[in-house]
């Protein structure tokens, strides 16, 4: 790289990283704040998720055993409604459990009571199937109570869930992934934005306000070099800030989803090396583009204050674009969407978090954003060269 650009980047970074106050507010604080807020939110949420004492558990039984009915009536922990359903409704009831409309299904084999009584003479050990949904607190609760009821019946010999692959009817990773996929793109975009907003307005409008940019512009430094140096150094800072926010998020999300913690789904297990590489590419390209756009807006302003005011509406636009991932439900697959600046980042991120990203789309998103950044750098260079913009009264 051109040595002028390197020297200018060094200077910007020197200024930034040697100033404890700026490092604190731009890098440490975002991550810390997010961590504290999300951990707190997680705590508040799991309190909210405590099951109401008056909750009536929806439990269905197929071919109920008399002993079971007696036992479950005698326990007092659950306030339940027990219905008996015919075997041909097993499938539809399982779906209701997955959809969290019902809590538990207990299936006894035909002639369970006789088989158990005649066990010594029969080679077949009866098997009871119990279906539940671990994503639902109530279902999980009902499952453990009914399990203990069945255990207490085990003076006679029978099996529970023998040969049943998936007694847990939770929609696997679905719900968690969907939440991640729809919320995170907006959060990440906003973190990057806020991370670079203060520094970029300061670095462009601030230099104009203090008259230091003119000192730079009378040196034989090309305007393009100044623009590229500004965008790269601000991009690095934005990335650090974004990384801090991301770390805060990364550490607090599992807490927020505390109830999922001991299940197979943990935040970390969603991500392999490939996902991290994709994420880094998209975040890098997006940071650079955002920084470039904020720099352009700032260069029209006469002071940092004015620049901040001018950039704020843009932040709202970015947040709205970020929100779009929550409405489209999952990532777009059509390549065309990955050419639209900002929207492409949101879609790419949504795809990564849903575990359904395609290398082609990520690449197109990254490359197109880098191209847009170069165009923006060119525009910025033109602005640095424009006396109307640099020396307006």
């Amino acid at each position: 790289m051109n040595s002028n650009i390197i020297v200018m980047i060094k200077k910007e970074l020197h200024r930034f990283f040697r100033d404890p106050r700026v490092v604190l507010t731009t890098i440490l604080l975002p991550g810390l704040l997010i961590y504290v807020i999300y951990t707190f939110l997680g705590g508040a949420m799991s309190n909210m998720l405590k099951i109401d004492e008056t909750y009536e558990y929806q439990i269905a039984v197929v071919q109920p055993s008399e002993a079971f009915s007696t036992f479950i009536e005698s326990q007092s922990t659950l306030n339940y409604s027990l219905e008996t359903i015919p075997p041909d409704q097993i499938e539809s009831y399982r779906t209701r459990i997955t959809d969290e409309e019902a809590d538990l299904l207990v299936v006894f084999p035909a002639g369970f009571d006789q088989d158990v009584a005649l066990l010594e003479r029969s080679p077949v050990v009866p098997n009871v199937e119990v279906y539940y949904n671990s994503a639902s607190m109530a279902s999980g609760q009902a499952y453990s109570v009914v399990l203990s009821v069945l255990e207490s019946m085990k003076t006679s010999s029978f099996d529970i869930n023998r040969g049943v692959d998936s007694a847990d009817l939770a929609p696997s990773k679905g719900a968690f992934l969907q939440y991640l996929s729809s919320m995170l793109p907006m959060l990440i975009l906003i973190f990057i934005f806020t991370g670079c907003m203060a520094v970029a307005t300061e670095s462009i409008a601030g230099e104009k306000e203090r008259g230091t940019i003119a000192t730079l512009l009378v040196t034989p430094t090309k305007r393009g070099e100044v623009a590229v140096a500004k965008i790269l150094s601000l991009g690095i800072i934005a990335l650090c800030s974004g990384a801090s926010s991301f770390l805060g998020l990364y550490l607090s999300l599992p807490k927020m989803f505390g109830m999922l913690e001991d299940e197979s789904v943990s935040f970390a297990s969603l991500f392999g090396i490939v996902e991290y590489v994709y994420l880094a590419l998209v975040v890098l390209a997006t940071s650079l583009l955002l920084v470039a756009l904020i720099s352009i807006i700032s260069s029209f302003s006469k002071s940092v204050k004015e620049a901040t005011t001018a950039v704020t509406p843009f932040m709202l636009v970015v947040a709205l674009v970020g929100l779009s991932a929550m409405f489209t439900g999952g990532a777009q697959s059509d390549v065309v969407f990955y050419l639209i600046p900002l929207y492409n980042s949101v879609q790419a991120l949504a795809g990564i978090f849903a575990g359904e990203s395609s290398a082609v789309n990520i690449l197109i998103c990254t490359v197109s954003n880098l191209v847009y950044t170069m165009v923006a750098a060119y525009v910025l260079a033109r602005l640095f060269n424009s006396e109307k913009v640099m020396f307006s009264k």
Binding site: V7, E207, T212
Partner: protein, 260 residues
């Protein structure tokens, strides 16, 4: 006479005034001719002073010479290089300074000097040698590692001067050198200018202060309302009356013309 190093030929610059600016300047006109067919020349090794009241167009003229602005019409040449067509070459030759031109508070004189040396592609050993000389000469050495924010106004100004000399420009363009400076600092800046002249540099400065013009300038151009009303060696201009009297006579004459 020395060779001609700067030649300004009929430059013109018109600004469109914003509503806010019209209010400040108490005018209803949308356009302001800041520089009006201005021409002058400067010779190698002399101090040329643009003298004029506020709003006369001095800053605009110097910004055109230092390539920060382009003239609407006309052109200026430094060492026969056009500011209009080869601004990049011009920037290698000049040092530009204004009193409102600030250095970034966060850095030390040492850092800033190295930074600007580098941007001017000065050879590292030459840069270090020159830095030591300049810092010593202007008493910046003691404060070389103090952040600009913590320097006194005088030391800040000296630092600006020293940094602007990092590439040893032959022509120094200086807008209102002593504006807003206290007496002592103003004195050291004036001494600095005389010093540069000793070294054979060409200096183009602007000012509205008669005493400064009289003290340091070899030649003076009196600029009023964007026009050059007189341009001659100081000695010639002040043969019959003081610079102040000459200026006010010219000013009344021009004002009279405008009112008619």
């Amino acid at each position: 006479m020395h060779e001609e190093i700067l030649s300004v030929r009929e430059i013109e610059k018109t600004f469109t005034l914003s509503a806010k600016q019209r209010k400040i300047e108490k005018t209803t006109l949308k356009k302001k001719v800041a520089v009006d067919k201005l021409s002058f020349t400067a010779h190698k090794g002399e101090v040329f002073g643009l003298l004029g009241p506020n709003g006369a167009g001095k800053t605009t003229t110097l910004r055109i010479l230092s390539t920060l602005m382009t003239p609407d019409k006309g052109d200026a040449f430094i060492d026969n290089i056009s500011v209009r067509s080869h601004p990049h070459e011009i920037r290698k030759k000049i040092g530009f300074l204004t009193s409102e031109l600030k250095l970034e508070d966060f850095f030390t004189p040492n850092y800033l000097y190295d930074f600007f040396s580098h941007l001017h592609h000065v050879e590292p050993d030459i840069a270090q040698k020159r830095k030591a000389e300049l810092f010593d000469h202007f008493g910046v050495s003691r404060f070389a590692e103090v952040k600009v924010a913590n320097l006194s106004t005088g030391m800040k100004q000296k630092t600006s001067l020293v940094v602007a000399m990092a590439h040893a420009p032959d022509i120094v363009i200086f807008d209102e050198p002593t504006n807003g400076l206290d007496l002592l600092t103003a004195k050291s800046v004036t001494d600095f200018l005389l010093d540069l002249r000793e070294q054979g540099k060409t200096i183009i400065l602007s000012t509205h202060i008669f005493s400064l013009a009289e003290k340091v300038c070899d030649r003076i151009g009196i600029i009023i309302d964007g026009k050059m009303t007189a341009c001659a060696p100081l000695a010639e201009l002040t043969r019959e009356a003081s610079l102040e009297t000459v200026f006010f006579n010219l000013y009344e004459k021009t004002a009279g013309e405008i009112n008619e």
